[in-house]
Amino acid sequence: GAQVRESGGGDEGSQEGPLRLAVVPKAVGFDFWEQVRIGAECAAGEAEGSEIQIQWDGVTAETNVSGQVDLLTNFATQGVDGMVYAATDAKVLADVSENALDQGVTVVNIDSGTDPQPKQVPVVATDNVAAAEEATEYLVEELGGKGEVAFIPFQPGTATNDTRTEGFKNVLEENPDVELVAEQSSESDQNVALEVTENILTANPNLDAIYAANEPGVLGAAEAVRRAGKEGDITIVGWDTAPDEVKAVEEGVVSALVAQNPFRMGYDGTNAAVDAIRSDAQLEDIDTGSTLVTQDNLDDPEVKAVLNPSCSNKPEVSQ
């Protein structure tokens, strides 16, 4: 008879000697995840005792859920000691975590956890919905509670996109005078973001604000607003903190950015995994927090550390 396959028990007990940790982002090739990698490598470099080897690998698009499942399965099969990963799909990846745990692999989630979340698996993340709400409230405040807003999501159906959308829409519901007049995806491509924003501006000459859910969206929107000569007239609030986003804040084109703490996610996530493997410690969730970066707080040292993290200048967990 047919049955669902149980993975064979993995080799256990490599607590001594070098550790192999797989660190898997939602997708490679984005600034945010590069910060995660730097954090993870920093933690590995600082770890006392035996050598820690980081295996950094990921799919190329956040939408490639089954690709991530395959990748993590391959890592578990290969017998890594721990996996630190960001789930592209909460429910789907729950199984993968369970299977890995069965094989004796320590698992830590960063950025996005699974559903259900195994109790042995901690989540090191920002509360995306809360951060999105905070940013949107800021936006509403800037508008004086009234106006036309456009929304630039990037990939409907992905966890990151949807939580950021959820927080945004929660706040809009409470503010009926702020009207959502356009919603066009950037497909995580700055040129596409630029084009759709240009076209949105054409169709909505009275637009007051734009909420962009990730880096390419913010940069594309800022560029379009600049080009239309509407810097300052249109409030842009968005996510991520690439150098040119920050520069746009300095110039006043962008009003506020949600800064997460990807470095911290990589750093804390890796440390948590190492602790768990070495000492069987019961792990706690860690909120890496978020910061709303505006022209006013740009020069604060804590904000600076969040914006330009490095092993020697670690950002603090901010609230």
């Binding site: 669902v4 399965t73 290969q78 789907v92 409907p156």
Partner: protein
């Protein structure tokens, strides 16, 4: 003219033909074997039951869809819509279970039929409306993706019965993965269709010379449409396997999948100009891609370097394969 010598040579050449067929297919497998042997030495984790099991099930989706793609490519067509169609079928099949309570086999059938319906549209556009296959299926790529987003609001479909996991994650008879059984079954059926049925023969003929096929009395429209229906159905079935592997219907599934699938067929010797392609070759292509991906992870190659290496290996593998085939062809014929 019908003398003994002639007959003698004819028997001899039939044998030679069969032999050279076999040898040339082995040659096609050459690159695959080299990569396999290399990985066996390079990574201690490679040649484990678990890992081979993983590779087998991970290849299933691409392999199944690539068999349909091979058929389409043989007719000098192309099906760019397989990724979107797989997503649509997977989601629809999942909805059939979660919202309509259908049992697993019927849901799988349902998903496959959704794929077949997309294929029928493609086939109609190509063979009746006379659209270029690239355009017809490019349109479907967009339309099917739109429909799946509309149907689900881009949300994954969960709440599927546990039995559904069997398709993509099950094992039979002492540990053979069901996806592997599916690959073998689809491959055998595909092989028979291509080599022994009118549909297969006409596919080669249409791809080699459409006008000659028409003037030989082949009902072009019917057979061309069938080819796209089969490709759609296999894309739908592949979508159901993918859905089962993650126990959910994913509206975002399969973006860019068409390139992998077409690459598998082309690496396996199918010609985009039609008239050439085999199921065995395509499977070899699919496994070659899967092996390279798997090996890169096992050897912990940096992701960015992985992309470079995958590209280079594809070049080398196909070049080497062509080179060997050419040499074998001249030696054994």
């Amino acid at each position: 003219m019908t003398d003994g010598t002639e007959n003698g040579t004819s028997r001899g050449s039939a044998l030679r033909d069969r032999l050279s067929d076999f040898v040339s297919q082995l040659a096609a497998a050459g690159a695959l074997i080299v990569v396999f042997v290399f990985l066996s030495f390079a990574s201690p984790d490679f040649l484990t039951a678990d890992n081979l099991f993983n590779i087998g099930s991970q290849t299933a989706v691409v392999a199944v869809i690539a068999v349909g793609m091979t058929l389409v490519i043989i007719t000098a067509g192309i099906d760019l819509s397989v990724g979107s169609v797989a997503a649509l079928a997977g989601v629809m099949g999942a909805l059939l279970m979660s919202s309509f309570g259908l049992s697993m086999p019927f849901a799988v059938l349902g998903g496959t039929l959704v794929g077949a319906a997309c294929g029928l549209t493609n086939g109609f556009l190509v063979s009746v409306a006379g659209l270029n296959p690239f355009i017809a299926t490019l349109g479907m790529l967009s339309v099917a993706r739109g429909v799946v987003y509309i149907a689900t609001d881009a949300q994954s479909v969960f709440g599927l019965p546990d039995s559904f996991r069997l398709l993509g994650q099950g094992v039979v008879a002492g540990g053979i993965p069901i996806p592997v059984v599916i690959i073998i079954t689809v491959a055998i059926v595909g092989y028979v269709v291509l080599s022994r049925t009118k549909l297969g023969r006409y596919a080669y003929a249409m791809g080699s010379n459409l006008e000659a096929a028409r003037l030989s009395g082949i009902p072009i429209r019917r057979y061309l449409t069938s080819v796209y229906v089969i490709s759609g159905a296999l894309a739908g079935f592949g979508g159901m396997i993918a859905a089962s592997r993650v126990a959910s219907g994913q509206p975002n599934y399969g973006i860019g999948l068409e390139l992998d699938v077409i690459a598998a067929a082309v690496i396996g010797g199918a010609s985009l100009f039609g008239g050439q392609g085999t199921v065995v070759g395509t499977l070899i292509g699919a496994f070659l891609i899967a092996l390279i991906r798997n090996g890169a992870v096992l050897l912990n190659v940096n992701t960015f370097y992985q992309q470079v290496i995958i590209g280079v290996i594809i070049w080398v593998a196909v070049f080497w394969d062509q080179y060997r085939r050419r040499k074998l062809a001249s030696a054994s014929e």
